[in-house]
């Protein structure tokens, strides 16, 4: 193949550009590559959650009333608070990225810290939500049909049966814990990543000081996690009464 050597290529010395990894020619290439990689990763995450959303949609379409009755035991207030908290954390994350672009180290660390606080708040509220579900035996398992019946007591019919199909209610709660649980795992991982990012900024690491892209990548991840919750909240908590 026809190729000539590159007079611009310094071979093996890049003038010590800090934060530049060896496989890249310059920071622009590195930053763009990181962004492509991050978006590819987020696409894979969309497919990951997407399958669960598809399953949820199919089953809710088929069992609308049962899902509605089951969902009434979710705490909409706590869910709404969590939504606000997470949206606010996305705002602070945007501010952190902007501060990184402006190379304002102190602000970056401040905004990231608030983001972590919001995330922890989210998890704490989630903990209380889960706790109350467990107390009412509203989690999938061998005993669901018997134990959870009490929670649906006010839907009792005259003949002592409940109006909700226990299998479908169990399915609802299985999906609830599965999807919000998977989301919570992503929040926890996010907290870890943001804390690492704060440490890098604190230590003035080359990776973040000279290039805002790593911070932006974390921001992208965080917005994705927020976006998933924006879908989860209305789907699980804000169900309209089926006709």
């Amino acid at each position: 193949m026809s190729a000539i050597t590159n007079p611009m290529d310094h071979g093996h010395d890049h003038g010590h550009e800090p934060g530049l990894h060896h496989q890249y020619e310059d920071m622009a290439q590195q930053s763009e590559t990181y962004i492509v990689g991050m978006w590819s990763f987020l696409v894979s995450e969309v497919m990951f959650f997407g399958a669960l959303f598809l399953i949820y949609t199919l089953y809710r379409w088929n069992y609308q009333l049962d899902f509605y009755i089951a969902h009434e035991h979710l705490d909409v207030k706590l869910g709404a608070i969590n939504t606000t908290v997470l949206l606010f954390s996305s705002f602070t994350m945007v501010m952190a990225v902007q501060s990184a672009q402006l190379k304002n180290r102190i602000n970056v660390m401040r905004y990231l810290a608030v983001t972590v606080l919001c995330a922890c708040t989210f998890l704490v509220i989630k903990y209380f939500e889960y706790k109350s579900k467990f107390a009412d035996h509203l989690y999938p398992g061998a005993g669901f049909a018997d134990d959870a019946v009490k929670a649906f007591g006010n839907h009792a019919l005259e003949n002592g049966h409940v109006a909700v199909n226990m299998n479908h209610a169990q399915l609802f709660y299985g999906l609830y814990f599965g999807m919000t649980g998977l989301h919570a795992v992503h929040i926890i991982v996010g907290i870890g990543v943001i804390i690492s990012l704060i440490r890098l900024w604190y230590n003035r690491a080359n990776t973040v000081i000279h290039d805002y892209v790593p911070t932006e990548m974390v921001g992208l991840y965080w917005h994705f996690v927020d976006l998933v919750w924006i879908f989860l909240f209305p789907l699980f908590y804000l169900m309209p009464l089926p006709r």
Binding site: A145, D146, N167
Partner: protein, 376 residues
């Protein structure tokens, strides 16, 4: 087609087989043709244009839109033609005629229960009449199975929790393979059997005789089998012995007991002597007969009584015989109860339809939920 040990095609025994085979062989011809085209071209080029040969390599071809479009469009068209034929066959396969006879199939690990409309049941075998469209409505008791009859070219999954269907019209009398064709556990490869295609006349008589390929047993015959099976014949022979009295000609004779009382040996007496022999011990004997209460069913008792009634007479079936003799009177009198009882006595079907061999342990609520599931 058979060439000794190398059969080359399955039998054609249904309304679909001919059309199916036409499409199949067309695809075979296509495959052979294009494989030859590619294979011959590749080998030809490899030889002719091998390094060092003096072939003409001038003006080599790197792009040729006409060629490219040709071998884009031609395969596309061929594909669409095959799609059309395949689809039209498939639509026929998925559209059972309204007048099809319905037969029900339950698949479970690891056998097939087939139930005909009039109640006749069979296991691992499907009897069908030739020339009549048959629709199978199927469901699984546990995991996925598939009902596959290669000779008919039909197959469909048998799914737990919902009914699935397949239909065909058998065209050739004979016996054909039936396979389970969806992996379902340890004995998946043993969950097979046969499909028996009969002429409509033979099928009708098969069906009305309770699904026996030979005639059903009379009660006396059934009783004879029980008599041997549970051991009566071991002690009660043609003559009185020290062990037990003979039962020949016992019916309706007076019987004297050890305590001096006596009874006429009617059906009631015969029944209680079988189930609780020590209520009335025949004089001259002790407590040697085993108690049969709980060991035999009421049907067995009815059949035993019928047999004992004719013991010692010329119409009694031989005590150790298993031969089914056509009992014209039983059929002609239309005594469905007796024939079905006889059928049940003969069919040693001890399979519990609710048992599932591989159900995972440790889920006690499963059975309850399963019951609810089936009732939905």
């Amino acid at each position: 087609m058979q060439f000794n040990n190398f059969p080359l095609s399955p039998p054609r025994a249904s309304n679909f087989a001919q059309e199916y085979d036409a499409i199949f062989y067309a695809l075979v011809a296509l495959t052979v043709f294009f494989t030859l085209v590619v294979g011959v071209a590749v080998i030809f080029f490899a030889v002719r244009y091998k390094k060092g040969t003096r072939a003409d390599r001038s003006r080599p071809m790197y792009e040729n839109l006409f060629l490219e479009l040709t071998w884009t469009i031609v395969p596309l068209v061929i594909g669409l033609v095959m799609f059309y034929f395949g689809t039209s066959l498939y639509v026929k396969m998925r559209t059972p005629p309204k007048n099809a006879t319905e037969i029900f199939v339950i698949g479970k690990q690891w056998m097939w229960h087939v139930q005909h409309g009039n109640g006749v049941r069979e296991n691992n075998t499907l009897h069908v009449p030739a020339g009549v469209p048959i629709k199978l409505t199927m469901i699984s008791q546990d995991v996925l199975h598939a009902f596959y009859i290669p000779a008919f070219r039909v197959q469909e999954h048998v799914v737990p929790g919902r009914y699935t269907q397949l239909w065909f019209t058998p065209t050739e009398i004979g016996e054909y393979h039936l396979f389970c064709n969806m992996y379902c556990g340890t004995q998946h490869s043993e969950m097979g059997g046969k499909v028996v295609v009969m002429s409509p006349k033979d099928f009708a008589s098969w069906l009305s005789e309770g699904g026996q390929s030979s005639a059903p047993l009379s009660m006396e015959q059934a009783g004879a089998k029980v008599y041997n099976k549970v051991g009566c014949a071991n002690c009660h022979g043609a003559e009185d012995t020290l062990r037990a009295p003979s039962l020949y000609g016992i019916y309706n004779k007076r019987r004297t007991f050890a305590d001096g009382t006596s009874l006429i040996a009617d059906e009631e007496y015969l029944r209680s002597s079988i189930l609780r022999p020590y209520d009335h011990i025949t004089s001259g004997y002790g407590q040697t007969m085993p108690v049969y209460e709980g060991q035999v069913t009421e049907e067995d008792v009815l059949n035993l009584v019928a047999y004992i009634k004719v013991l010692g007479t010329s119409t009694a079936p031989p005590p150790t015989s298993n031969i089914n003799r056509h009992s014209a009177s039983a059929v002609a009198s239309g005594t469905n109860e007796s024939t079905s009882l006889a059928t049940n006595a003969v069919q040693a079907n001890t399979d519990d339809p609710d048992a599932s061999p591989t159900r995972r342990t440790g889920s006690p609520a499963v059975g309850a939920v399963a019951a609810e599931g089936r009732n939905r």
